[in-house]
């Protein structure tokens, strides 16, 4: 199942050297609630699993890596940019272009169709709206037929696929997934993990999965645990 990752010739050189790394990251909500995170690295074709039980700061770590929270100490380097040093405006722009996030529950802009949600993601990232690219992406995830539907009419599984499509439509350097498998049975867990790995690879994105789902451990050679 990890066969596709050894097809090095399908990866362009940029991506090969593209690394995500964090070091010395610290964040505190209050004096008591402090987090210190392990240093990590991830790159295209070498996904990283971050494991941790509730209360260990998984979501905080994910938000720090996604630039949704600003770290108090340490650095996060994505494609040679230290995002902890970016201004709010630059961070918004950087996030749009370089980071795709898949949340535990799939949410969309309710007023828009599946296709329009993807268009919005392209537009907000500052990329040109590319209809063909959107339809390709939807086709690759097997949901092309749903493109004109409202997102809330889709099944949970379909919604997750649309969320993956949206996270990857701008070919981000980093794809973050928050608990993508927590509510799935073994069969579907396998399916989603395959899908994530394949699609991240195809889009040239480094994949980081944050989860408490210990079943995933056996799928990934590279993992860290929060404690």
């Amino acid at each position: 199942m990890r066969l596709s990752f050894h097809l090095v010739d399908s990866i362009n050189l940029d991506n090969l050297y593209m690394m995500i790394l964090s070091s010395g990251l610290k964040f505190a909500y209050t004096e008591r609630q402090r987090f210190q995170f392990p240093d990590i690295t991830a790159s295209v074709g070498d996904p990283l699993l971050i494991l941790g039980n509730s209360g260990k700061g998984k979501t905080t770590f994910l938000h720090l890596l996604g630039g949704l929270l600003q770290a108090h100490e340490g650095e996060i380097i994505i494609n040679e940019t230290d995002i902890t040093r970016l201004s709010i405006q630059d961070l918004d722009r950087f996030r749009g272009r370089n980071i795709g996030i898949i949340f535990q529950q799939s949410h969309f802009v309710a007023a828009l169709t599946v296709r329009e949600n993807l268009q919005l993601a392209q537009k907000l990232s500052g990329n040109p709206v590319d209809h063909d690219q959107i339809m390709d992406m939807l086709a690759r995830l097997g949901i092309a037929a749903k493109s004109e539907q409202s997102t809330y009419r889709l099944s949970i599984g379909e919604q997750q696929r649309v969320a993956i499509a949206r996270a990857l439509i701008n070919r981000p350097k980093l794809l973050l997934a928050d608990e993508p498998t927590s509510s799935l049975d073994d069969y579907h867990t396998q399916e989603v993990i395959n899908l994530l790995e394949e699609q991240a690879h195809a889009a040239g994105s480094a994949l980081i999965i944050v989860t408490h789902d210990n079943r995933l451990k056996e799928h990934f050679s590279h993992s860290v645990e929060l404690d």
């Binding site: 929270l69 722009r93 996030i101 949410h107 537009k123």
Partner: protein
């Protein structure tokens, strides 16, 4: 998928809230726009038609009625005045010129006015067809009359007594013939049938004394009949005379002199018009206040609609930030919702006011022969557009600031 389109789609996502806000805005805008149009039209008509008329003399009675009847032709005349006295007044050194008018009859609700050619010149009337009246029972008609009554050169008609058409009152001995039609001027002459004063005298002498007016003196009535159909100058009467002074001194001297030393009454159009305008202004202010209150409430409705929807959409907005939207973009997105609502309310409001004008115009023309016409958007209404969009934007400002300062991490974690 630009922000404007997204704002629009968000509004469509909650149609009832949107409809409510737009309806309130529509109501407020249409009332204000109608007020603007009506007051502009009335002011315009009032001011336009008194231009160059310094004083009006007529029979004793209410000066307002005198102005309304002899300048605007919308009230009954106060009575008649002796021609002799009018001619004498014209000789006064402070009088520059005067135009005599004699009313009597009407045709299908349009007044037949016996007057001089200078009346048409005064209102800068121009002939569209034919010529001005020369002989008795020749009539030159205003553009509005020609259009509504479908009259053309050579047509004949009978006047009926007074201003209201009644079966009994038709003067069917002598028909008027249309000899000329004036071009539209947007002044009172559009709505008049004009003829030599002699026509009015002739028709009423044939009939015995049937001059227009409610303050008719029975004794006078008898006197007149004694003289028989052969009127001489001594007994001729006119209804009113429009006057222009030689100098502002006229205002100091003439009205008092006329009131004191003659059987006539002098009225100053400028004063009467401002008195009327003042009378209207109380009602106008009240309606203005109501309209402003409605606009205020609609502003609040816009605020409530956007604010409550924002609660449900917090996650959506945070999500947009993760996709690269800036805080400013979210602010604009929310402000645009308010501005779109304002613009929609404005467009609907203007449409409603135009429909209102058409309906009112119908009644106005029926009652006063004053059509209202306002189809283009006036400067004041453009300011109104700006004001409504600002109100929409202001109503959306607080929700917009909330969107701007949204804590995305917290919102996403709360899911």
């Amino acid at each position: 998928m630009n922000l404007l389109l997204l704002s629009w789609k968000n509004l469509r996502e909650r149609p009832l809230h949107t409809l409510m806000s737009v309806m309130l805005l529509t109501l407020g805008v249409s009332i204000i726009s109608l007020l603007l149009i009506l007051s502009q039209q009335l002011d315009g008509q009032f001011k336009d038609n008194i231009k160059g008329i310094d004083m009006v003399v007529g029979a004793k009675g209410s000066p307002t009625q005198l102005i309304l009847s002899s300048v605007y032709h919308i009230d009954n005349p106060t009575g008649n005045i002796p021609l002799k006295e009018a001619e004498e007044l014209l000789k006064h050194p402070l009088i520059k010129e005067g135009i005599m008018m004699a009313y009597g009859d009407s045709y299908k609700g349009y007044r037949i006015l016996g007057t001089e050619h200078s009346y048409v010149q005064h209102y800068e009337g121009e002939l569209a067809e034919g010529k001005l009246w020369e002989e008795p029972f020749e009539a030159t008609i205003g553009a509005g009359v020609a259009e509504r009554l479908n009259l053309s050169i050579g047509d004949t008609f009978y006047g009926s007594h007074g201003n209201v058409e009644t079966e009994e009152g038709v003067h069917d001995e002598q028909a008027y013939v249309v000899v000329g039609i004036l071009a539209p001027s947007r002044r009172v002459i559009d709505q008049l049938i004009m003829t030599p004063i002699q026509s009015v005298w002739d028709i009423h002498s044939d009939h015995g004394h049937e001059e227009e007016g409610h303050e008719e003196d029975e004794e006078e009535h008898v006197d007149e009949e004694d003289h028989g159909p052969e009127h001489d100058d001594e007994d001729k009467e006119i209804t009113a005379m429009l006057l222009k002074w030689k100098s502002p001194m006229g205002m100091m001297m003439l009205p008092r002199m006329v009131d004191k030393e003659t059987s006539m009454k002098a009225a100053l159009p400028a004063i009467e018009v401002s008195r009327l305008t003042e009378l209207f202004s109380v009602g106008r202010t009240t309606i203005e206040m109501i309209a402003l209150a409605i606009i205020l409430i609609s502003g609040i409705s816009v605020f409530v609609s956007i604010y409550s929807s924002l609660k449900d959409r917090k996650y959506e907005l945070a999500l947009m930030r993760t996709m690269g939207a800036s805080r400013e973009q979210l602010l604009i997105l929310v402000l645009l919702e308010g501005i779109i609502l304002g613009a929609l309310g404005y467009v609907c409001g203007i449409l409603v006011s135009r429909i209102g004008v058409s309906v009112l115009s119908f009644y106005f023309e029926e009652a006063y022969h004053y059509p209202l016409t306002q189809m283009i958007v006036s400067i004041e209404e453009l300011w109104l557009l700006l004001a409504i969009m600002v109100i929409g934007g202001l109503a959306a400002l607080i929700p917009g600031i909330r969107a701007f300062s949204l804590n995305i991490s917290q919102t996403l974690a709360d899911g």
